[in-house]
């Protein structure tokens, strides 16, 4: 007797075991001790590095366009501390302390010598910290490398600007000065009036006047990383960077064009726009010397232009 009513109710299950299927053949045995590899997420913030501005030159991209570039070199940049400050009533503060440029023991204070000994690194000239998210802490003593940055990504570079000394209003604030002739006596470059009359009868605090110009901490934002050299720890960024040659600079992921756009585009579910064009991933928590040895020595970013500017359009 054919039991038609039962064949619809019960699903047909294969009676033989799946010995030769591709699913079981491709499956890899996961070792029990394997730790999850930390990966960059749009809500994480990586550490920055300390580098030295070595100079400027020019490079031509694959389409033949010329870009002025600044050469930044990491000089034995190592992690000296992981800072985690928990205070009641506020979000915990996490940071990675990084130091660069070796210094001789005889020129280092005892307090700093103790600090570097605790971290297990050579005494350094400059020590700075970078706020990070809790997942971006790095083991102390790790040497950071130029491969921390991916060619094609954007960075912010912070440095002390060139000091100009005591400067007048025209250079410092862009005042127009006075006329060159028509009776102006001895005050062609002066700032002119500094206020109103009896009311208020004083000069407002913060009035722009002559004074010391330059030597300030300046951030150059959204500079594109054009070339990374892992063998010499060089980062070539497009454009200018504040400061003199051989000055220490801080390089961080661009707040506007990398960190915030990643967060916004991830929240809007535009997953292709999370990272800049051409960048697929970022080394997380950091690009280290060990990673640089595995990667090719020189990596260059392609042009982000869609069309070649030298080919005439129809």
């Amino acid at each position: 007797m054919i039991r038609i009513w039962s064949s619809n109710a019960r699903p047909s299950v294969s009676r033989c075991r799946n010995l030769h299927s591709t699913v079981s053949a491709n499956a890899e045995v996961v070792p029990k001790s394997k730790k999850p590899v930390p990966k960059w997420t749009p809500s994480s913030l990586r550490t920055g590095v300390i580098a030295r501005k070595r100079g400027m030159t020019a490079m031509w991209d694959d389409q033949g366009a010329r870009h002025p570039v600044t050469v930044l070199q990491l000089e034995n940049c190592q992690v000296t501390a992981n800072i985690m400050t928990h205070r009641k009533g506020t979000t915990p503060y996490h940071a990675v302390q990084v130091a660069a440029s070796d210094k001789s023991v005889k020129n280092t204070t005892l307090t700093m010598l103790g600090h570097f000994k605790k971290a297990g690194v050579q005494p350094k000239r400059i020590v700075k910290e970078f706020p990070v998210t809790p997942d971006a802490h790095i083991p102390i003593g790790t040497t950071l490398s130029a491969v921390h940055f991916v060619p094609g990504q954007y960075v912010d570079v912070i440095a002390k600007s060139i000091g100009k000394g005591f400067q007048g209003g025209m250079k410092r604030w862009g005042f127009k000065g006075l006329r060159a002739s028509h009776g102006v006596s001895v005050s062609h470059r002066s700032s002119g009036s500094t206020g109103q009359h009896q009311d208020p009868g004083r000069v407002w605090p913060g009035k722009k006047m002559a004074g010391r110009m330059g030597g300030d901490r300046i951030t150059a934002q959204n500079l594109r990383v054009v070339r990374v050299d892992g063998s010499l720890d060089l980062v070539f960024v497009k454009g200018c960077v504040p400061g003199v040659d051989d000055a220490h600079v801080l390089i961080k992921d661009a707040k506007k064009l990398l960190v915030h756009t990643a967060r916004h585009n991830h929240a809007k579910a535009l997953f292709e726009k999370v990272l800049p064009k051409g960048v697929d991933d970022l080394p997380f928590p950091a690009g280290t010397k060990e990673l640089a040895e595995k990667l090719p020595p020189v990596i260059i970013a392609p042009s982000i232009r869609v069309s070649n500017p030298f080919v005439p359009r129809e």
Partner: protein, 173 residues
């Protein structure tokens, strides 16, 4: 057997074996010679980059035509023809100035085309500059060799068309 082949193909295309896993479109040039250790401290880094950043052909041009002391160097006042990849394919003119900046070295040629003075600046390391030919040098006492100029930058030629035509008259003869 077929599933084994598919598995091998899938594994060879995996990202674990990619040369640079952080960017698929990154350009990876052939590995250069190992740099000396002193460069990691920055000693002599910019001169090293000046020697290694341009391609070997461009470096040869920079070392001969655009050097400061080479016997075959270009002198201001010489007449050159530059052949380019894009329009205008050839441009000839008097060499007004050489701006020496290592890989960023450039020069300016001036010519008068259809009664209009035209100047063009060419960058030696640009991939568009294919060839630089010397039509007339400027090292000798005059005539075929061209007169030696007493200046490094000949911007005064912009205001004196008669001197420009004197230089070009020498070529036609």
């Amino acid at each position: 057997m077929l599933s084994g082949l598919c598995r091998g193909l899938a594994r060879s295309m995996s990202t674990a074996t990619a040369p640079y896993p952080f960017s698929k479109v990154a350009i990876i040039p052939p590995a250069p010679a190992a740099p000396p250790a002193a460069l990691r401290q920055g000693k002599g880094l910019m001169p090293y980059l000046q020697r290694t950043l341009p391609s070997p052909e461009k470096q040869k041009l920079l070392d001969t035509l655009f050097s400061r002391r080479h016997p075959d160097r270009l002198l201001p006042g010489s007449v050159l023809t530059v052949i380019l990849n894009h329009a205008p394919t050839t441009f000839s003119g008097v060499l007004l100035s050489i701006r020496r900046r290592g890989p960023d070295t450039s020069f300016v040629l001036r010519n008068v085309i259809n009664r209009t003075g035209v100047e063009m600046q060419f960058f030696v390391s640009s991939p568009h500059v294919k060839e630089i030919k010397v039509v007339q040098g400027a090292g000798g006492s005059g005539g075929k060799q061209g007169r030696r100029m007493r200046r490094a930058k000949l911007f005064y030629l912009r205001d004196s068309p008669e001197k420009m035509s004197a230089i070009s008259a020498g070529i036609k003869n």
